[in-house]
Structure formats: structure tokens, C-alpha cells
């Protein structure tokens, strides 16, 4: 076999490569994004100000935005980077208690509120860094157990601190509500909190760093052999993800007016995981939809807390059975039953191969 012989025309070697087709310029897609955000904001703001969305439904809405923030963070860790975390609520607790503490011990002005929320997010991220270094070496089930334990340790630690400092099991209150339906800029806080979270995670995913995260999820050995520093990628995803858990915590503090250790238990971590899995692992648009859907479901099931957990458990089992992966749960179901051919714009048109 004479392989040295040069073929007359070798595509790419001897003939020039066609330039890839230009997509939208960055400023164009940026403007479109800005337009969408402004549009959604104005519509919701008008509906709220005119009272079409009353205080009750506004409360539900705020809860959904807070869930979106936390779940997007978890999606980065679990869906995009493939690191199973069951301790997300623990990091949320760090943000919640930090912001409450700051607001309680300062003027309670908007500056101290924002400062407290930011500090809470940073501390959650720092803790994410500290615990990520040893635990992210673990794989699969072991990592899940370690993060589960960690979340519980945080909760139990807070529960057992001096009543005067963090309120013990009775919780903290008296710092006022700043992200609730009844506070003037409450809607702006949670809405723009969610927008910032979405933009940050999206920009991260659509970058070399995000691609490295997905590669780590897909195949650790291959990604490491292609020059991806596993530890660095996992830890940075964990830090960013826990930062947003902390942010969600700070907003949650101002949303409920009282925070207690039991609000940040294992079941809360499971709820975030539910949102991520229902929306599709790694699918950030899906997280938005799933958070909204679960928020509405919770509203209807408010007085049947036990039934809610049964429904969650059933949903989880079904998800495991149909292995939805990145495809959002409801899309997968639609495919299973061959319902009408809706064309949802946010759906990734990707086929799943196992």
C-alpha cells in the first residue's frame, strides 16, 4: 500500500477550507436577550403594579425565581459537570443565615441588604471551594453521600449554635422582609437575581470552561487526556454553583421573614435536584420551566405536604426509568405518548443515544 503517494486534491490540505457560516453577531444576540428580559420584566411589573397578580400569586412567583437561582446552580454542578450533589440546601443555608445576620446587625438599609446577600453568596462559594477540594475526588454514589452528609452537618451545626447568635432550631427573624411580595423592590430583587444567575451560567456553559465541564461529565479519562484539569473544572463548577445556592439563600431570607434550620434539610436539596432532573440534566432553559411547573404544582398541593413528597418520589422513579438525560422530562413524555407535534422553541432537538 503506497500511502506516501499524494492524492491530487486532499480537501483541507490542498484546497482552502470554507469559513464557517456566520451566526448572529454577539451584539445582536445580546440585544435580543436584553429585549426579552426587559419585555418580561415590564409585563410582570405592570401586572403586579396594577394588582392583576395579587400578593398571593406574587409570593408564588418570588418563590419560583428563588428556586430557579438555586436550581441553576445545582444544574451547573450536577447536570452540566456531572457531579452528583445532595447538599445544595446546606449552601443555601449559609447564604440565608449570613444575609439575615448582616441585616440584623446593620442599618437594614438597601445597601446592607444587598451587601448581606452578596456576602452570603460569597461565603457559600468559599465553603464550596473548601469542601469541594476533598470531596470532588469522590465519584458517583460516594460524592452523593459526602455532599448529603455535608448539607446535614451545616443544618445541624446551625441548629446547635447559641440561640443568641443564629437562633438555634427556632430560627432567626426580625430582620424584615425585603424579597417578599409585600416589600417595594422585592420583585426586582428576585427577578434580576434570577436573570443574573441565568446569564452567568449560560455564558459559562457557552465558553471553553463550560465545554470542559460537559466533557468531564461525558468522560473523565478522555477529557483529562485532552488536557482538561479535572480537579480545577469540578471545583470551579462547584464554587459557582454553591455561590448561587448562597444567593438563593439570601433572597429566601428576605422572602419568608423567618429562617429555620429545618428549611434547609435534605428534602430541600432533593427538591432542587427534582427541578434539575425534570428540566433535563444540563438544560438550563429546562430548569426555568421545571422550576415554574413545580412551583405551580406546589401551590396546588400546599395543604397536602405528604402527597407532595409521594408525587416527587413517583416522578423521580419515572425519570430514572425513562432516562431523560438532557431532554426535559415533559418533552420526553410527549415523545413517549406521541402527542401533537408542538414545536417548543426552547427544546434541544437532540436525540438521545444510550
Amino acid at each position: 500500500m503506497d500511502t506516501k503517494k499524494k492524492n491530487s486534491k486532499r480537501p483541507g490540505f490542498d484546497t482552502p477550507v470554507e469559513k464557517p457560516a456566520k451566526k448572529l453577531a454577539p451584539w445582536q444576540s445580546g440585544l435580543i436577550g436584553l429585549g426579552i428580559v426587559a419585555g418580561v420584566y415590564l409585563i410582570l411589573r405592570i401586572l403586579i403594579s396594577t394588582g392583576v397578580i395579587g400578593a398571593y400569586y406574587q409570593g408564588i412567583l418570588h418563590g419560583i425565581f428563588i428556586d430557579i437561582i438555586a436550581a441553576l446552580g445545582l444544574n451547573l454542578i450536577t447536570g452540566i459537570t456531572g457531579q452528583f450533589s445532595l447538599g445544595h440546601a446546606g449552601f443555601m443555608a449559609i447564604g440565608a443565615y449570613t444575609s439575615a445576620y448582616v441585616v440584623l446587625h446593620t442599618s437594614g438599609s438597601m445597601v446592607s441588604i444587598l451587601g448581606g446577600i452578596l456576602l452570603g453568596a460569597v461565603l457559600a462559594g468559599v465553603l464550596g471551594l473548601l469542601v469541594g477540594i476533598p470531596t470532588l475526588r469522590l465519584k458517583g454514589d460516594y460524592l452523593a453521600i459526602a455532599t448529603l452528609g455535608l448539607g446535614e452537618i451545616i443544618r445541624i451545626f446551625i441548629q446547635n449554635t447559641d440561640q443568641q447568635v443564629l437562633g438555634g432550631s427556632a430560627g432567626l427573624t426580625g430582620y424584615g422582609v425585603y424579597a417578599a411580595a409585600t416589600s417595594p423592590a422585592g420583585f426586582e430583587l428576585v427577578f434580576f437575581g434570577a436573570v443574573i444567575t441565568f446569564v452567568v451560567i449560560r455564558n459559562m456553559v457557552k465558553s471553553s470552561h463550560g465545554r470542559a465541564c460537559i466533557a468531564v461529565r461525558e468522560d473523565e479519562i478522555a477529557s483529562e487526556s485532552m488536557g482538561v484539569n479535572l480537579t480545577k473544572v469540578k471545583i470551579s463548577a462547584f464554587v459557582v454553583g454553591t455561590f448561587f445556592a448562597g444567593l438563593a439563600g439570601g433572597l429566601y431570607t428576605g422572602y419568608t421573614g423567618i429562617i429555620q434550620p429545618k428549611s434547609f434539610d435534605f428534602m430541600q436539596s432533593i427538591e432542587f435536584l427534582m427541578i434539575v432532573v425534570l428540566g433535563g440534566l444540563g438544560n438550563i432553559w429546562g430548569t426555568l420551566i421545571a422550576a415554574a411547573a413545580l412551583g405551580v404544582l406546589n401551590m396546588f398541593l400546599q395543604s397536602f405536604a405528604e402527597i407532595r413528597m409521594i408525587i416527587y418520589a413517583l416522578l423521580l422513579v419515572i425519570i430514572m426509568l425513562i432516562k431523560a438525560g438532557e431532554t426535559p422530562f415533559f418533552v420526553k413524555l410527549r415523545g413517549l405518548f406521541k402527542w401533537s407535534k408542538w414545536n417548543l422553541p426552547f427544546v434541544h432537538r437532540k436525540t438521545e443515544v444510550e
Partner: protein, 259 residues
């Protein structure tokens, strides 16, 4: 000049000595073959040279493009990759749920010069790097004939193209030493011929040093300039394809396996 100089390399798994006391060298720009019966330890040697396994004993010295020397035995895979070493896998290990293009772009990640914060805030360096990445990736994909499939999921490619994508991905790291583990496995004769000329073309284009494992003797003998033969973890022969073809121990090892 030797790019790789391997001395007394051994690897044991529990009681099993998969590689024992192997000495070999790889010259710069060489197309080197590594052959031997199944279970001889070929893939294990690749895993040792690329950092996937830590040697039980022995040294692996790499000479970089500027003549600098580094001991890479036991170095983590991502660090050997930074030293310009890359590879493909015997059982294809593509990032299945990523597009063909993204598979290439992941390999270029180690050359990304923008930070995570620059990406999040979409600073100018992000755009300039991404544009250059896209151009380089398009070029590499065109070389292996996958430019039309850039947007497809890697798992949707036919088998032969998956093998090519793995080679393209290895090249995209910017490596100058590339290990190919059974690149022609599962290909038909015409695909194999095409692959052989592709490998030669890529080697010329990127000035590569290539070490490959392959069972297809016609392929190896036609392509490689020099060959090592491995049996039970030790090197039993080294030489040009002609020398290897007529080597008694090699014939024995192969006949012994068939019997």
C-alpha cells in the same frame, strides 16, 4: 533525536506484570508501530506514556520542541497533554452527547487564554479567542472530512467517522506526539486505506510524531517506519517492517497465539 526515551518501564496490576522492563525510544517525526498479541500490554504502555497509569518502576523522558527534557512518568494525563502528548482510545471515548465541533473545541481548552470571569462577562478576549478556535477547529475538521458534520452529535456518527473524530480531537490539543490505539479496528479495507493516507497527510501537515497500535499487519507494515513487538509485557523485537516480518520470535509469538 529521541522525543521519548523509555527506560526499564514496568507496570503490575496486583500480581500480574502487564509491562515488564520495557526499553524503547521514539524519534522525532517518526511513524512508529507497536504490535503484539492481545493482552501483550500495548494499551498499558500507551496508558503509562500518557499518564493514565503511574508506572510501577522505570522512567519516561520527553524531549520538548525546544530541546527541554521532562520526566513524564506518573504525571497526570492533563499535564502530559500540556507537554504535547495526545492520544486516541482503543474503545472510542468521544464526548458522545457533545457535537463534533465541541469535541474538537474541548481539546483546545488547554490553549484557552481567557479566564472564567472573562467568559462570564463576555470580555473582548473571549470573542477573539472563540473566533480563532472556531477557525482552527473548522480547519481540522475539514482535514478529516468531518466539516459537514460539525453540528452533529458525536454519538450519531458512523463508526469509521468516530475514529477519525478521535484522531482530529487528539490533534486539536496542539500535540506533537500522538498515540493511536488501534485506529483501523472495525474498518473495512477501503476505509483502512483511506485512514492510512489520512494519517500520513496529518503527520506532514502538523509535523507529528505518531506511535500506533494496530492488528492489521498490512496496515502497520505499509505505514510504519519502525516497529516494536510486544509479547507478555516485554519487547521481543524491534526493527523495520521487513526485519519484523522475518523475525523468528515474532512469528513464534503470533503462531503461538493462534495455536
Amino acid at each position: 533525536m529521541a522525543v521519548l526515551d523509555v527506560k526499564n518501564l514496568s507496570k503490575s496490576f496486583g500480581g500480574l506484570k502487564a509491562v515488564s522492563d520495557v526499553n524503547l525510544y521514539v524519534k522525532k517525526g517518526e511513524l512508529l508501530g507497536l504490535i503484539g498479541p492481545n493482552g501483550a500490554g500495548k494499551t498499558t504502555i500507551f496508558n503509562l506514556l500518557t499518564g493514565v497509569y503511574v508506572p510501577t518502576s522505570g522512567t519516561i523522558e520527553l524531549t520538548g520542541s525546544r530541546g527541554e527534557r521532562a520526566e513524564i512518568g506518573g504525571m497526570k494525563p492533563y499535564l502530559t497533554a500540556r507537554h504535547g502528548i495526545s492520544r486516541t482510545f482503543q474503545n472510542i471515548r468521544l464526548f458522545k452527547n457533545m457535537t463534533v465541533l465541541d469535541n474538537i473545541l474541548v481539546a483546545m481548552h488547554q490553549n484557552a487564554r481567557y479566564t472564567l470571569l472573562e467568559a462570564i462577562f463576555r470580555l473582548p478576549r473571549y470573542y477573539s479567542q472563540e473566533t480563532r478556535f472556531a477557525e482552527t477547529a473548522a480547519h481540522i475538521l475539514a482535514l478529516v472530512g468531518l466539516d459537514q458534520k460539525a453540528g452533529e452529535l458525536a454519538s450519531n456518527l458512523p463508526y469509521g467517522e468516530q475514529r477519525k473524530l478521535e484522531i482530529a480531537r487528539a490533534i486539536a490539543t496542539g500535540a506533537n506526539v500522538i498515540f493511536l490505539d488501534e485506529p483501523a479496528a472495525g474498518m473495512n479495507p477501503s476505509e483502512t486505506d483511506e485512514l492510512a493516507s489520512l494519517i500520513v497527510n496529518l503527520k506532514d501537515e502538523y509535523d507529528l510524531t505518531i506511535i500506533l497500535i494496530e492488528h492489521d499487519m498490512k496496515f502497520v507494515m505499509g505505514l510504519c517506519e519502525r516497529i516494536y513487538v510486544l509479547d507478555f509485557g516485554t519487547i521481543i523485537a524491534e526493527g523495520s517492517p521487513d526485519e519484523i516480518k522475518h523475525n523468528k520470535r515474532v512469528i513464534q509469538a503470533y503462531l503461538g497465539e493462534e495455536a
